[in-house]
């Protein structure tokens, strides 16, 4: 993965980032008492490795790096959904309790939540606030995470004559990341903010995305996709490395990352779709 490309993009975007943690309350029409800090990112583009598995000529390929254009502003939670936020959903009957028995500060990100839990929260939160809230897609997450986005392991070799090269090199790449288990959730903000002003990306909580696992066969001449099969029973998680997990899994240790280090914890943050509101803000800022 070429981090340098991403960094260029993120530097360019950082200048245009509009942190609007307070202004949202005026414009958002919240029906609930707990306002949530939001950050709006201006449209931009990223070049990033697509999630999923890719084959060409019957052999695994490195994930293709594509430039993706995000043509609308992205309004995303500055922090991950917290223990307290999620507890409100549980109390209201909109969510199942998280699979979390450890003593965790109430302002820590909620952990022990599955994709299904995250979806339930988004549904409930949309209803509670009258907005439209959803999980970010993998590319939206990568865009927002900017320099904190890790994606695929580097240095993975594909050898048509020796499939074991891929297994061995990806195992080594993962080992070389030297990720030590860091299981204890911490108060929000503990992992700092990225260049876009968003907090806690790629700390010890991996985040669910709305992107399904997909296996794609690339055309032999390299000009496109020959076929692809989605498995939406498995979704992409992002964090210090990319992971794929079944929708019902709430414990990172239950698997996901090759054979090595699993995610420490599973959590999420949401995006709000509200084009009309965003346009008003941009108009107000004199950008559009």
């Amino acid at each position: 993965m070429s981090l340098s490309i991403l960094k260029l993009v993120s530097v360019a975007m950082a200048a245009a980032t509009v942190p609007v943690g307070l202004s949202i309350q005026a414009a958002g029409g919240h029906r609930q008492s707990r306002p949530v800090a939001m950050t709006t990112l201006l449209p931009g583009s990223i070049t990033y490795p697509m999630p999923g598995e890719f084959l060409k000529g019957g052999h695994p390929q490195g994930n293709p790096r594509l430039e993706r254009q995000l043509d609308r502003p992205l309004e995303i939670m500055t922090y991950q959904v917290s223990v307290g936020d999620y507890a409100a959903c549980v109390a209201a009957g909109g969510c199942q309790p998280p699979q979390e028995t450890r003593a965790v500060p109430s302002d820590a990100p909620v952990t022990g939540v599955s994709y299904l839990d995250a979806e339930a929260y988004a549904r409930w939160y949309s209803e509670a606030t009258g907005g439209h809230w959803r999980l970010p897609s993998d590319e939206e997450w990568a865009f927002a995470a900017a320099e904190r986005f890790a994606g695929e392991f580097e240095g993975v070799e594909d050898d048509a004559n020796n499939p074991a090269r891929r297994w061995l090199t990806s195992y080594k790449a993962e080992v070389e990341l030297k990720i030590k288990p860091d299981p204890r959730p911490r108060s929000r903000g503990s992992f700092g903010v990225n260049s876009r002003g968003l907090a806690d990306f790629s700390g010890n909580v991996w985040e669910w995305t709305s992107t399904c696992y997909v296996r794609t066969t690339l055309a032999a001449d390299g000009t496109g996709v020959a076929s692809s099969v989605d498995n939406c029973g498995v979704h992409v998680l992002e964090g210090r490395h990319r992971a794929y997990m079944s929708n019902f899994v709430s414990d990172g240790k239950s698997g996901g990352c090759a054979v090595g280090t699993p995610p420490d914890n599973l959590g999420f943050r949401l995006i709000r779709d509200h084009a009309g509101w965003a346009n008003r803000i941009f108009g107000w800022l004199g950008i559009v």
Binding site: L55, T101, W167, L168, Y171, P181, P183, T217, S227, V229
Partner: protein, 368 residues
Amino acid sequence: MFTRREALFGAAIGAAAVAAMPAFSATITQADIKALPREKIKLVAPPFVHPHDQVAKTGPKVVEFTMTIEEKPVVIDADGTKLNAMTYNGTIPGPLMVVHQDDYVELTLINPDTNSLAHNIDFHAATGALGGGGLTLINPGEQVTLRFKATRTGTFVYHCAPGGPMIPWHVVSGMNGAIMVLPRDGLRNDQGKPVKYDRIFYIGESDFYIPRDEKGNFKSYESAGDGYDDIVKVMRGLIPTHVVFNGKVGSLTGDNAMKAKVGETVLIVHSQANRDTRPHLIGGHGDYVWEQGKFANPPAKDLETWFIRGGSAGSALYTFLQPGIYAYVNHNLIEAVELGATAHFMVEGTWNDDLMTQVEAPKPIAVN
């Protein structure tokens, strides 16, 4: 800790009183043994094994080992769960000792005064005195030297056995290991033909019983003695909270994965001092397996999974034929995946298409 320590010492003294001095064989005198050559071995931490000859180059000798007992807290999983461990030489399992048949094993066991408990050692390879347990019970601040003759070949467990309820508690706190007594002329296959290994790894499997608090989280204790009552309650349920190789979840994966090359022959020695286990090499086999561990019996051939009885050590010889990442597991897969009993081999080499090939990569199901 005064009362606890007193109680433990009380048990220790009781066991020592029962032990009797062994009688030496009438045909070999102390002077004969004294005349034998001596070799001093420096033990190494598992999964590695100290250098040794597979075929003995000389006649029997006295092989000297020293092990220091260390009581210390260790972390046994990625969540930071703590075990107040008791260890031989600081590792779980203790180091693998290797000698040849008819050698004399001479072990000096040291219990530093920084420890709080009495310990000893029971060698399943030894004859008499509770496997040596009756002659080796030492309090903190003491050391003892035991010599026994390695009369039978094979892999054998050793463990701490300081009497009564102390025995299982010390064993599941980490105090176990293995010794391998090789035939003087090396290992032989089922046809009686010599076989050799290029690499040897020692895997000691442990079952741990960590108490939980009312919320289900693992508890930790100031000292081993403080946790004793709670741990015994979990032990009596017979369901371990952790089943791990070499002392902790993931001790033989990632950076610590075992390494080999295609074409190399590996001997995997596997001990379990307390509980049955069933090792399996995913994507490989046991070419020759001494399931019960004793080399006087011909090895079983081509096993998929082998059974190591609780309280024994077995070994499997395998020549890697294909590169890749191999998982070596306890094939109770719940114990392998949920409780921790998984190790990895990283095997480099050339892929053999004849043995396996993906004829067609995954693609959408064909219609018509």
